[in-house]
């Protein structure tokens, strides 16, 4: 805007067609080594969990009583077998399906709730905002693990109920993030400009404001997956979550407790999977946080 006449007819400040793969955000993400590692790990893990069980010679429920406690790398079973002679690799991949599905689904639901509450609270503010945000504060006061345990003691545990339970205890952070963002964006001129054009409240919220708050939401979503996987593991480990024979990384750990000294791989393998998945998601979250914040370039 500084060059007076030329700017009107001249070329734009940047070439209009930059490939999305060349965007500064992606470049910043790629510079974040651990985040790239995390993204690759999650990708490989997800693919393996989806495709793997079809390729393996054993299913996760196939019991071979003669091959109990086979240690890893000792024959047909690459990662060994458990106390019933079930193939550990097959079980880990099937458990991965459940655990990752719980992670993503719980994230999606908690995002929807959190974004809706945050949007409405941030946009309308005043009494509506105060009531909603105090409700969020109240929800945050519950220690979520105990809440999860208490509730899952009353209802029949299953994959769907676990997803819902985790989602209902994980949306508050998102609501707070979104509320703060929307409150700030609401005062921006383009929000008033859209209103002056006859845009409805919902339209201003969803079309104008929400896309501008997407960066912190994406970061929160990534970290939420890690949180959900971890939460599922806790509950399953304590026996209130996913019930055998359906495997999950958490209940595999629970199952391994009795054989910690005799067959340590039973605990180590699912433990390693949980650690790998959770840290990967956390790295991705960190990377996205840096990549989506343009100020990190100024360092």
């Amino acid at each position: 805007m500084t060059s007076p006449v030329g700017a009107i007819d001249g070329p734009p400040a940047k070439p209009a067609l930059t490939s999305r793969w060349d965007s500064p955000a992606l470049r910043r993400f790629r510079r974040h080594r651990l985040a790239v590692f995390g993204a690759v790990t999650i990708l490989v893990l997800t693919l393996a969990c989806i495709v793997g069980p079809f390729l393996l010679p054993f299913t996760d429920t196939f019991i071979d009583i003669r091959q109990r406690f086979a240690p890893p790398l000792s024959g047909a079973h690459v990662l060994g077998t458990d106390q019933l002679g079930r193939d550990m690799l097959a079980r880990l991949l099937m458990a991965g399906r459940i655990s990752l599905a719980v992670g993503f689904a719980a994230m999606a639901i908690s995002m929807v709730i959190g974004v809706c509450v945050g949007l409405v609270a941030g946009y309308y503010g005043g009494a509506i905002g105060a009531v909603l945000m105090r409700f969020v504060d109240a929800m945050l006061c519950f220690p979520s693990i105990f809440l999860l345990l208490a509730v899952s003691a009353f209802i029949h545990p299953g994959v769907e109920t676990i997803i819902l339970l985790i989602a209902f205890t994980a949306w508050m952070e998102v609501a707070r993030i979104v509320e703060a963002q929307i409150k700030a964006l609401r005062e921006r001129d383009f929000a008033v400009a859209a209103e002056a054009l006859g845009a409805s409240d919902a339209r201003v919220m969803i079309r104008e404001l929400l896309p501008n708050a997407i960066a912190p939401i994406v970061v929160a979503a990534t970290l939420n997956v890690a949180h959900a996987i971890l939460a599922e593991s806790y509950i399953s480990f304590l026996g209130y979550g996913i019930q055998p024979p359906t495997p999950s990384w958490g209940n595999m750990l629970d199952n391994a407790q009795g054989y910690l000294t005799s067959a340590p791989w039973l605990a180590m393998l699912p433990g390693a999977m949980i650690t790998l998945a959770v840290t990967s998601f956390n790295f991705i979250g960190d990377g996205l946080r840096d990549a989506l914040d343009p100020r990190t370039d100024a360092r």
Partner: protein
């Protein structure tokens, strides 16, 4: 709502015929008062503002920061904060494109929303921040088009291209897929104007549309607005504090001070023979390049500051800064907006004697 309502007699001589709007009047504002509730008390931002804008006419609203210009314009479209924080009184009537007259302040919100953008649109001061940074230009215009029409997405995009062409943006197809940060300030303001014009409003409110632009771009934008007005015959309410811009674009001018209209006149009489001492001061405080060759005095300024809206003087708001103040006359009560010639109104207790005594 003023401090001394009892002392203000009937406003009959100045209020225009309240019952019916003349056929060519697009916007009729009567006794519009806007006040904000703050912890310190009630802040009157606009007080009994009355004016009308006719078809094809440009009315400039001039005043310092805080004189109530922007608040008035926002209140017309009901874009001020909601009720408990902000109170609006008075009457605003708008004659929409179908010649139906709407009483804007009495409309339900949903009906108001239909009129915003379609009958009355607004261009804001900051082209840098009035566009949504995450959407492409073409999509933003198409979106605005679709607020009030049943056009398909494709049809709306075609219309957007047409509008960009209309506001003089070259290489339209490429610009459509640009993001706001890829455009210069002048171009962004053109885009804002294109958006405002998308539904062919009968009234365009431009709130300091050129203030954030540099001078050459200002001139281009003013010319563009003028051209568009010639073509569409829309009424233009132009808010500014730049008297040079006023001289260039306005047909009539209203001067605001401390939330009140203090003078209203056609543009030539106002510049030639300002009656209100405040207007005179404003005109004197404009730097004059043509005088530079002769003697370059210090730039004339109006002494003092705009009064605190929480502690307004009981009489004329400008009295404390006025060189012609006669305490018993000026501080006694708020002067009326009196007729002082054809379409010339002034709110000054002494305008007649000043005009006689010291002809400019």
């Amino acid at each position: 709502m003023t401090a001394t309502p009892a002392l203000v007699p009937a406003m009959a001589p100045v209020t225009r015929s309240a019952a019916s709007m003349a056929e060519d009047v697009v916007l009729d504002v009567e006794d519009l008062s806007v006040s904000f509730v703050s912890p310190q008390g009630i802040v009157p931002a606009a007080r009994e503002v009355s004016f009308e804008v006719r078809r094809g006419e440009t009315l400039a609203m001039v005043g310092e920061s805080g004189s109530g210009k922007s608040v008035t314009s926002l209140a017309i479209l009901r874009l001020t904060p909601p009720a408990p924080q902000c109170r609006i009184e008075g009457r605003v009537r708008l004659r929409a494109g179908d010649r139906r007259v709407h009483d804007l302040l009495a409309l339900p919100e949903a009906r108001m929303r239909e009129l915003r953008g379609s009958a009355a649109a607004m261009v804001f001061q900051e082209p840098m921040t009035s566009l949504n940074p995450v959407h492409k230009i073409g999509d933003q215009i198409a979106e605005a088009v679709r607020f009030h029409s049943a056009l398909s997405k494709r049809g709306a995009l075609d219309r957007a291209a047409e509008l960009l062409d209309l506001v003089g943006i070259p290489d339209v197809r490429r610009r459509m897929s640009s993001y706001p940060h890829q455009l210069s300030g002048g171009m962004r303001q053109r885009v804002m104007i294109a958006i405002a014009l998308s539904c062919e409003p009968v009234l365009l409110i431009a709130d300091e549309p050129t203030t954030a632009l540099d001078v050459t771009i200002q001139a281009q934008i003013l010319e563009l607005l003028h051209d568009l007005q010639q073509r569409t015959q829309m009424a233009l309410l132009f808010i500014t504090h730049n008297l040079g811009v006023v001289a260039e674009i306005a047909d009539r001018v209203i001067v605001m001070y401390a939330g009140r209209v203090v003078e209203e006149a056609a543009v030539l009489p106002l510049f030639k023979r300002p009656l209100m001492p405040y207007t005179q001061g404003l005109l004197r405080s404009v730097p004059r390049l043509d005088l530079a060759g002769r003697r370059c005095d210090e730039l004339a300024a109006i002494p003092g500051n705009v009064p605190d809206p929480l502690a307004l003087p009981p009489g004329c708001s400008f009295a404390p800064r006025c060189a012609h103040r006669v305490p018993e006359l000026c501080d006694a009560r708020v002067p009326l907006l009196e007729g002082a010639g054809a379409e010339h109104f002034v709110r000054c207790a002494r305008w007649a004697s000043l005009a006689e005594g010291a002809p400019p």
